[in-house]
């Protein structure tokens, strides 16, 4: 394929970062941060997902359109979550 390729060094670097983030997320879960535990876990997972998508899945070298299609699934999932919680979070006596 015509895309400029990503070097093996990059792949290994990203892999090590992913493993480091895995350790971080397990460790952070043991610290009591209240509701921020959940946010931290999701933030770390999102960073990992973005790294995988950007480097392993070559979004780095893809067209804007492909990036848009990659994002649209997540955007629509966000719609589903936000509007469902518009109900769940404000239901009286629930």
């Amino acid at each position: 394929m015509a895309h400029e390729s990503i070097s093996r060094t990059t792949y290994f670097t990203i892999f090590l970062i992913l493993l480091a983030l895995l350790v971080v997320t397990v460790r952070v879960a043991d610290v009591d941060l209240g509701r921020f535990n959940f946010l931290a876990a999701m933030a770390i997972a999102s960073v990992k997902a973005v790294l995988i998508a950007y480097y392993f899945m070559h979004l780095k070298t893809q067209t804007q359109l492909t990036r848009l299609f990659a994002g649209v699934g997540f955007a629509w999932l966000a719609l589903l979550l936000v509007l469902t919680f518009a109900d769940v979070a404000t239901r009286l006596g629930g």
Partner: protein, 212 residues
């Protein structure tokens, strides 16, 4: 005639067009997959917001060490899958096959560990439905957690299983010489799929194992 033109389907004008279509199709399919899992993530979110203590109590019955190990296995398999695509770009067919076999072994390891965990839950009577036993005050809501746990991880495992089948097929294609530096959509698209399955797990792991 260009040597790669044997790969050109009749309805496309050029290989570039054909590649663009294949890649775009795969990303759209992955968008579909996100929403498929998204339905279950929403269910998880709603029930966790309703019953936070029960979810904490239930989550404690999952083994974080095993979960962490399995996450590491899957992340490693993503690396080998990426290296398989890299080898395909360089036209190194033996390396492609080697990395795909490694990815498959890691995927199989993941499934084996998952099966071990399932068995453990069975022994502990934590299978939802008939005979679910959970100590403490949260039994009913903990059953919801375990229903979600099994459904989500089972659908994820099913995707791993499909990935293993697809990779076996790609290995056959590679051996037949269907993979060249200019033309290797089978390896590339399989890689995309595999990384996606990895991403799903990256979210499942903290949501299921790391609630405190």
């Amino acid at each position: 005639m260009h040597p790669e033109s044997r790969f050109l389907a009749h309805h496309f004008d050029s290989l570039e067009q054909q590649h663009e279509a294949a890649t775009m199709g795969m990303w759209l399919f992955l968008a579909t997959e996100i929403l498929f899992f998204g339905g279950m993530f929403t269910a998880y979110g709603v029930y966790r917001s309703f019953y936070p203590q029960a979810f904490v109590a239930a989550s404690h019955h999952l083994d974080v060490t095993i979960g962490t190990f399995n996450t590491g296995v899957l992340l490693t398999s993503s690396l080998t899958a990426a290296l398989a695509v890299h080898a395909a770009q360089a036209g190194r067919r033996r390396a492609v096959i080697g990395f795909l076999v490694a990815t498959m072994l890691l995927g199989a390891t993941f499934l084996g560990v998952k099966g071990f965990e399932y068995h453990h839950k069975f022994v502990e009577s934590l299978i939802p439905g008939h005979g679910f036993v959970f100590p403490g005050p949260h039994a009913r809501h903990a059953e919801l957690f375990f229903s979600l746990y099994f459904v989500m991880t089972a659908f994820h495992a099913l995707h791993i299983l499909i990935g293993l089948g697809v990779m076996a097929y790609v290995i056959v294609l590679t051996r037949r010489g269907q993979v060249t530096p200019e033309h290797h959509p089978s390896v590339e698209l399989t890689g995309l799929y595999w990384h996606f399955v990895d991403i799903i797990w990256v979210f499942l792991f903290p949501l299921l194992y790391l609630i405190r």
